[in-house]
């Protein structure tokens, strides 16, 4: 590889772009929260221990999930100034399952499929105006989806 001035510059720019990636993309993945191995710890890790139940959050989950490996969940909210919406499965080995971040134009209405090891409460935590709100729904699981 020849080291021309332009080539060097290109590489320096490419190198700095790579160095920036952890801050813009990876550092945001809340490792401690996603690795928390019980519901309380996960709730604390996302800073929502004091979440208040709200009827402005709609959590749609099946009453009975025959197959815990694929449980469809829909969460939406009419709260104002939403910052994030988190989904937790209370009795999963790592309860925090997904964290949606809000952007202008993004509707607070998401669908996602989750795994459930056993019958458990599914909890949606909405952070809005610096406060935490919650809604939950119990899902009965016939066949768990976490083991192998």
């Amino acid at each position: 590889m020849s080291l021309t001035r332009r080539g060097m510059l290109k590489r320096i720019i490419a190198g700095s772009a790579v160095a920036l990636v952890p801050f813009s993309a990876f550092a945001q993945w809340a490792e401690a929260a996603f690795k928390a191995d019980n519901y309380k710890a996960a709730l604390t890790a996302i800073g929502s221990e004091g979440a208040v139940a709200s009827d402005k959050i709609k959590l749609k989950a099946p009453e009975i999930a025959e197959n815990g490996a694929v449980v469809p969940i829909q969460v939406s909210s009419t709260l104002e100034n939403i910052e994030s919406i988190s989904l937790l499965v209370e009795k999963n080995p790592t309860p925090l399952t997904a964290q949606f971040k809000m952007f202008p134009g993004l509707k607070p209405d998401f669908k996602i499929r989750v795994r459930m090891g056993e019958t458990s409460k599914v909890v949606a935590i909405v952070k809005a105006d610096g406060k935490s709100y919650s809604a939950s729904s119990e899902v009965k699981v016939t066949i768990g989806g976490c083991g192998g």
Binding site: A25, F26, Q28, W29, A30, F34, A69, V70, V71, P72, V89, N92, P93, T94, P95, L96, T97, A98, Q99, F100, K101, F103, P104, G105, L106, K107, D109, F110, K111, I112, R113, V114, R115, M116, G145, C146, G147, G148
Partner: protein, 99 residues
């Protein structure tokens, strides 16, 4: 990754289907050895360089993750660039143009 987008008025409903094993690190192979964790951690969407969507995911998301997002104020002809990254650093990018 498969993307299906539907534009109704200025509301775009986008369905993402990511092909990924989502290994939680708790499953064992036939020999009884634990299969190491490897799962999608971030899925993001950009329009013309501006971020419009992001979800961070844990080991509790189903195999071959399905995610639906709804975007307001969109117009035909706009392209949304989606990207996922997993815990091993592997990633995939795919775009969809609204029509």
């Amino acid at each position: 990754m498969r993307i299906k987008a539907k534009l109704k008025g200025d509301v775009a409903t986008v369905k993402l289907l990511i092909k990924h094993a989502m290994e939680s690190g708790r499953r064992k192979d036939e020999a009884g050895k634990i299969i190491p964790a490897k799962f999608v951690q971030t899925v993001s969407g950009h329009i013309a360089g501006t971020q419009v969507f992001e979800v961070n995911t844990g080991a509790g998301v189903s195999k071959n993750p399905f995610i639906q997002v709804v975007l307001n104020g969109r117009a035909a002809g706009e392209t949304i660039d989606f990207k996922w990254t997993d815990s091993s650093g592997a990633s995939e990018e795919k775009s969809v143009t609204l029509k």
